[in-house]
C-alpha cells in the first residue's frame, strides 16, 4: 500500500518551517502515517535549518538514522517543525522563522524547543512527531501543549543525523497525543545504529501495559518546592494520587544535587554548543561569507549577523567556560555536579522504581513574557536533571491550571523506558476512562 500522502495543513500556529505537500510512504508498521520531524534532524532532500538563518538553504545529502527507520517503517514525512534556534530556548520564540503559537491558547508559547512538533500534534495536524530533548525540549512543549512526550534514555536512540546542540545530553524522542502512539513511534526509532558510539544495542519493542500495582513511586521534595507554582504542585500530587489508587506506593526521595543542576547544565550545554556550532562559518552552509574580507573577520561578521542573540549568548558562555584558566572552574566543576546528580538518582532508584514530579514549574508563558534569559533558564529546573543523569523521562498531561495544560513527569532507571511508558499509560487510561 505504498503511495503518496497529500499534506496541506492549515498551519495557523506556525508549527512548520517546511511542509512536504506530497509525502511518499511505503509499507510497514507506520504505513501512511503522517509524521512531523523537528527541523534539527537531517532529512535527505528536505531543507533542514535548525530554526536558524545560518543554515537557510541547507539540504542534507543524507538521512538521520531515525529518519531512515521512519521511512522503512512506511511513515510519510510531512514536514519539518519549528524550533528554538538550534534548540536554544524553552518557548520556540528564538526561531529565525517566527514563534509557534500554542494551539490551546494562541496568546501563549507552545514551550520549546520542540514547540513546532508539540503544536503540530496538539492541533491535530499530525498524530505523531519527532522532537529532541537536551534539557527538556520534548517534555516542556508536551506539558505546555497537553500532549505526550518521551525523552528516551541516553544511548537508546541514535543521534546520527541530529544536528548537535549538546551531544552528551540530548536524545531524539517521540511526541504524540497518546502514550500508545508515543510508544509506537519509540519502537520504530529505538533501533541500534553502529554510527552512534554512545548507543547501546537495546531496541525498544514494547506495547504499553496499564498494570502498575506494586510500583514504587519516588516523590522528590525538590520537585514540589520553591519556584513551583503551588497549583501545579497540587495538580501533580493529585496525579500521583491516581497512581496510588492504581496500586502504586509512594516514597519520599531527595535529589540534593538539584541545587547545582541548572548551573551544571548550562555550563555543559553551552560548552558543547560553542564547539558544535563553530563549523557554521558561511563557507559551506547558509548565505555565503564575504570573501573580500580577511577570513577571520568575515567569519565573525557573518556569525554575528546570522546567529540570533540567544545562540550568540550561549556560544560566548560556552567559549568562556572552556577557556584556558577557566575550564577547571566551570567545565570540570559542572562534570562533578553532573556526577552528583547521577548518584542522587542511583540512590533514589535503589528505593523506588520511578520518580514523579511536575514537568514544568508553571503553565505556558505568554508570548514575549520571558524577556530575561535567566528567568527562562530557571524554568528548565525540573527537566534538566533527567538529561544530566541520562535517564528516561516522560511527560503526560495531568489536568489544567487556569485552563492551561499541566504535565506529569515520570523518570525511570537507565534503559527502563518501558517502565515510565507503562506508568504514564496506566495514568492516562485511568483518567481518560
Amino acid at each position: 500500500m505504498a503511495g503518496t500522502l497529500d499534506f496541506s495543513p492549515d498551519d495557523r500556529y506556525n508549527a512548520f518551517i517546511t511542509t512536504c505537500r506530497e509525502a511518499p510512504f511505503s509499507d510497514g508498521r507506520l504505513a501512511g502515517v503522517a509524521v512531523a520531524v523537528k527541523d534539527n534532524i537531517s532529512t535527505a532532500g528536505i531543507e533542514t535549518t535548525c530554526g536558524s538563518r545560518i543554515l537557510e538553504g541547507y539540504v542534507p545529502p543524507y538521512d538521520a538514522h531515525v529518519v531512515g527507520l521512519l521511512r522503512n517503517a512506511g511513515a510519510a514525512i510531512v514536514g519539518k517543525t519549528n524550533m528554538d534556534e538550534f534548540g536554544m530556548g524553552s518557548t520556540t520564540e528564538t526561531s529565525a522563522f517566527g514563534p509557534t503559537r500554542n494551539p490551546v491558547d494562541q496568546t501563549r508559547v507552545p514551550g520549546g524547543s520542540s514547540g513546532g512538533s508539540a503544536a503540530a500534534v496538539a492541533a491535530g495536524l499530525v498524530p505523531m512527531a519527532l522532537g529532541t530533548d537536551t534539557g527538556g525540549s520534548i517534555r516542556c512543549p508536551a506539558a505546555f501543549c497537553g500532549v505526550v512526550g518521551l525523552k528516551p534514555t541516553y544511548g537508546r536512540v541514535s543521534r546520527h543525523g541530529l544536528i548537535a546542540y549538546a551531544n552528551s545530553l540530548e536524545q531524539i524522542g517521540p511526541m504524540a497525543r497518546t502514550v500508545e502512539d508515543a510508544s509506537r513511534l519509540m519502537s520504530v526509532i529505538a533501533n541500534y545504529d553502529p554510527h552512534d558510539s554512545t548507543m547501546l544495542d537495546k531496541p525498544y519493542n514494547h506495547r504499553p501495559i496499564a498494570e502498575i500495582a506494586g510500583l514504587r513511586v519516588g516523590v522528590p521534595e525538590e520537585y514540589f518546592g520553591e519556584g513551583v507554582d503551588p497549583r501545579i504542585a497540587k495538580t501533580v500530587r493529585d496525579a500521583v494520587g491516581v497512581l496510588e489508587d492504581l496500586g502504586a506506593g509512594t516514597v519520599p526521595v531527595s535529589i540534593p544535587g538539584m541545587r547545582h543542576a541548572l548551573a551544571a547544565y548550562y555550563v555543559i550545554c553551552t560548552s558543547e554548543a560553542s564547539s558544535n556550532l563553530a563549523r557554521f562559518d558561511g563557507v559551506r552552509y547558509g548565505p555565503a561569507v564575504d570573501t573580500r574580507k580577511s577570513w577571520h573577520e568575515a567569519y565573525q561578521d557573518l556569525r554575528r549577523e546570522l546567529f540570533g542573540p540567544e545562540v550568540r549568548r550561549r556560544i560566548m558562555l560556552g567559549t568562556f567556560a572552556l577557556s584556558a584558566g577557566y575550564a577547571g572552574r566551570y567545565y570540570a566543576k559542572a562534570q562533578l555536579a553532573r556526577r552528583n546528580i547521577q548518584q542522587d538518582f542511583e540512590r533514589a532508584f535503589r528505593k523506588v522504581d520511578i520518580v514523579a514530579g511536575p514537568t514544568m514549574p508553571t503553565v505556558a508563558f505568554r508570548l514575549g513574557e520571558k524577556t530575561d534569559p535567566l528567568s527562562m533558564y530557571l524554568s528548565d529546573i525540573l527537566t534538566v536533571p533527567a538529561n544530566l543523569a541520562g535517564i528516561p523521562a516522560i511527560s503526560v498531561p495531568c489536568g489544567r491550571v487556569d485552563g492551561l495544560p499541566v504535565g506529569l513527569q515520570l523518570m525511570g532507571r537507565p534503559f527502563e523506558d518501558e517502565r515510565v511508558v507503562d506508568a504514564a499509560f496506566a495514568y492516562e487510561q485511568e483518567v481518560r476512562a
Partner: protein, 471 residues
C-alpha cells in the same frame, strides 16, 4: 652552549579506511573531494565511528617503542577555526593519550648508543588541504580527501642534542614504522614533523610542519645558527612558532607566544573512552631493526656496517635475505655497497630489481666467471634497462652479449705484449724498482680488455713477461 631538541611527529597510518568513517584512504591520483562522506566532511549531525585498525596500528607502534598503554584513554576536541578543518575542531587525544613513556635507541654524535625517550603517542584525524589557486585568484579551494586520514602523533622528550641526532632519530623511527607495516613512506606528506629547539638557558622555538624528514636537519641547523647569532649579538631568543620554508632552507616567524591559540580542549562527547590496554598482549610484532641487525651479523657473519645498512630498510633487508644464500659476505658487499650505490645514483627503488638476477650475478662472481669490474658493468647495463622500463635482461645474457666473461691468459697474452712494447719507459721504471709502474701497465691491459681480466692474475703475468724478457 647545549642544543636541546624535541620532536612531534605526525605519521599517517596506512589503514585502508579513514579514522572515523569508511572512506578509502587511497586518494593519491584521484580528483579532489572524491573520497568524502558526511562524516569526514563534518556535515551537521554526522557522528564519528572509530576505526579499529587504526587503534591496533597505534598500539603496534606503542608496543614496538616499549610504551605503557593506560587502562583508559580518551578522545578530545581541539577547537580552532581554519577553512581546511570542516568541523572547526579536530578530534584528537589530549590528557589521556593512547600510550605513554617509551624509548628509541639511536647513535649520538660520538657514535655511542643513546636512548631518546618518547613522551606519548596519540591518535587524531588529519584535516583537509587548502589548494591555493595560482595567478592572483581571490579564493582558495579546499580538498577534503585527506580529511579524516588517521594520524599517529609521536612526541619525544627534549633528548636530542644536535640536528644530526634528530635526523638519525627520525631515520630510526621511520624504519621501525616501516617494519611494523603501519606506514607508507612513499606517500607525500605521510610523515610531518614539528620541532622544538632551544639553546640551553634560552627560550624555546617551535618550527612547524616540516614535511620532509630531510628538511628537519636543515631547518634545525638553520635555527641553531640563527639563535646563536642572536645571542652573540646580545639579543634574546623570543619564544615563538616559526615556519620552515623548504625551498629557501630558512625559518620565518609565524606567531609569538601571546598570539598562541586557546584550543579549549574537552572530551569528545560523541566517542566513548577507549579501553584497549588488554589488546596489547595479542599484538604480534615482527622482527624489529635492532634484532634483525644482530641476527644478520650472527647468522651471515657480515660486518656491523653492512648489517646496519641492510636492515635500515625492511625491503632492502628482505632483498638481501633472498640473495644471501650463495655467499652471505659477498652478497652483503654487493647489495649494501655496489647495488645500493647504483640505485641511489639512478634514484631507483630496490623493488624494481629482480632478486633472481642478482642471485645469478653473485653466482658469476662467486665462481669467478666474471671479474668484479665486469660485474659492475653487467649490473649497470641491467639497472639501466630496468630504469628505462625495458625487460630486464639476465646477467648471463648481458655478459654474453657484451663479451664480458673473464678473459683467460691465452686471450690476453698478445695484449700484454703490446702494452709492454708500447710503454718502454714504464717497463724501465718497473725494472728500476718502481712498484707504481706495474700498476700502470696492468691498468692499461685492463682498459684494453674492458675489465674482463682479473687484475691480480694480470699483475703476475705482466711482471713475468717483463722478467722473462730480461732473461
Amino acid at each position: 652552549m647545549k642544543t636541546i631538541i624535541g620532536l612531534e611527529i605526525h605519521v599517517q597510518l596506512a589503514t585502508a579506511t579513514k579514522l572515523f568513517c569508511g572512506c578509502s584512504t587511497d586518494y593519491r591520483d584521484d580528483e579532489p573531494n572524491t573520497h568524502c562522506c558526511p562524516i569526514c566532511l563534518g556535515l551537521p549531525g554526522a557522528l564519528p565511528r572509530l576505526n579499529r585498525k587504526a587503534v591496533e596500528y597505534g598500539l603496534k607502534v606503542a608496543k614496538a617503542l616499549d610504551m605503557e598503554v593506560p587502562e583508559e584513554s580518551e578522545f578530545a576536541r581541539k577547537n580552532y577555526f581554519y577553512p581546511d578543518l570542516p568541523k572547526a575542531y579536530q578530534i584528537t587525544q589530549y590528557d589521556k593519550p593512547l600510550a605513554v613513556a617509551g624509548t628509541v635507541e639511536i647513535e649520538d654524535d660520538e657514535g655511542h648508543e643513546k636512548l631518546v625517550r618518547i613522551t606519548r603517542v596519540h591518535l587524531e584525524e588529519d584535516p583537509g588541504r587548502l589548494v591555493h589557486v595560482t595567478g592572483g585568484s581571490k579564493y582558495s579551494l579546499v580538498d577534503y580527501n585527506r580529511s579524516g586520514i588517521p594520524l599517529l602523533e609521536i612526541v619525544t622528550e627534549p633528548d636530542m642534542r644536535s640536528p644530526q641526532e634528530a635526523r638519525r632519530f627520525l631515520n630510526k623511527l621511520r624504519t621501525v614504522l616501516e617494519y611494523l607495516g603501519v606506514f607508507d613512506g612513499d606517500r607525500e606528506g605521510s610523515l610531518r614533523v614539528d620541532a622544538n629547539i632551544s639553546l640551553e638557558g634560552s627560550e624555546r622555538v617551535e618550527v612547524k610542519n616540516i614535511s620532509s624528514y630531510k628538511g628537519v636537519e636543515k631547518a634545525l641547523t638553520f635555527e641553531v645558527t640563527r639563535q646563536k647569532n642572536l645571542l652573540r649579538r646580545g639579543q634574546k631568543v623570543t619564544r615563538e612558532t616559526r615556519h620552515f620554508m623548504e625551498g629557501r632552507g630558512i625559518t620565518t616567524s609565524a606567531r609569538s607566544k601571546e598570539e598562541e591559540h586557546d584550543y579549549r580542549y574537552f572530551p569528545e562527547p560523541d566517542l566513548r573512552p577507549l579501553r584497549v590496554a588488554d589488546w596489547v598482549a595479542a599484538i604480534d610484532l615482527p622482527e624489529l631493526p635492532v634484532a634483525r641487525k644482530n641476527r644478520f651479523m650472527a647468522e651471515y657473519g657480515i660486518s656491523l656496517n653492512h648489517a646496519r645498512t641492510l636492515t635500515g630498510d625492511p625491503k632492502l633487508a628482505d632483498f638481501y635475505e633472498e640473495v644471501a644464500e650463495i655467499d652471505p659476505v659477498l652478497a652483503a658487499t654487493w647489495v649494501a655497497d655496489t647495488l645500493l650505490g647504483e640505485l641511489n645514483y639512478r634514484d631507483m627503488d630496490i623493488a624494481a630489481v629482480p632478486p633472481g638476477h642478482i642471485r645469478e650475478l653473485l653466482g658469476l662472481l662467486k665462481t669467478e666467471t666474471i671479474t668484479d669490474a665486469a660485474g659492475v658493468q653487467v649490473l649497470r647495463e641491467m639497472l639501466d634497462a630496468c630504469a628505462r622500463g625495458s625487460p630486464c635482461e639476465s646477467p648471463v645474457a648481458i655478459m654474453k652479449r657484451e663479451g664480458l666473461g673473464k678473459a683467460t691468459g691465452s686471450e690476453y697474452a698478445p695484449i700484454v705484449q703490446g702494452v709492454i712494447a708500447a710503454n718502454p719507459q714504464a717497463v724501465e721504471d718497473y725494472r728500476a724498482g718502481k712498484k707504481g709502474a706495474l700498476n700502470y701497465l696492468v691498468g692499461q691491459v685492463m682498459k684494453e680488455t674492458r675489465g674482463r681480466a682479473d687484475p691480480r692474475e694480470l699483475g703476475r703475468i705482466v711482471s713475468e713477461c717483463i722478467d722473462t724478457d730480461r732473461v
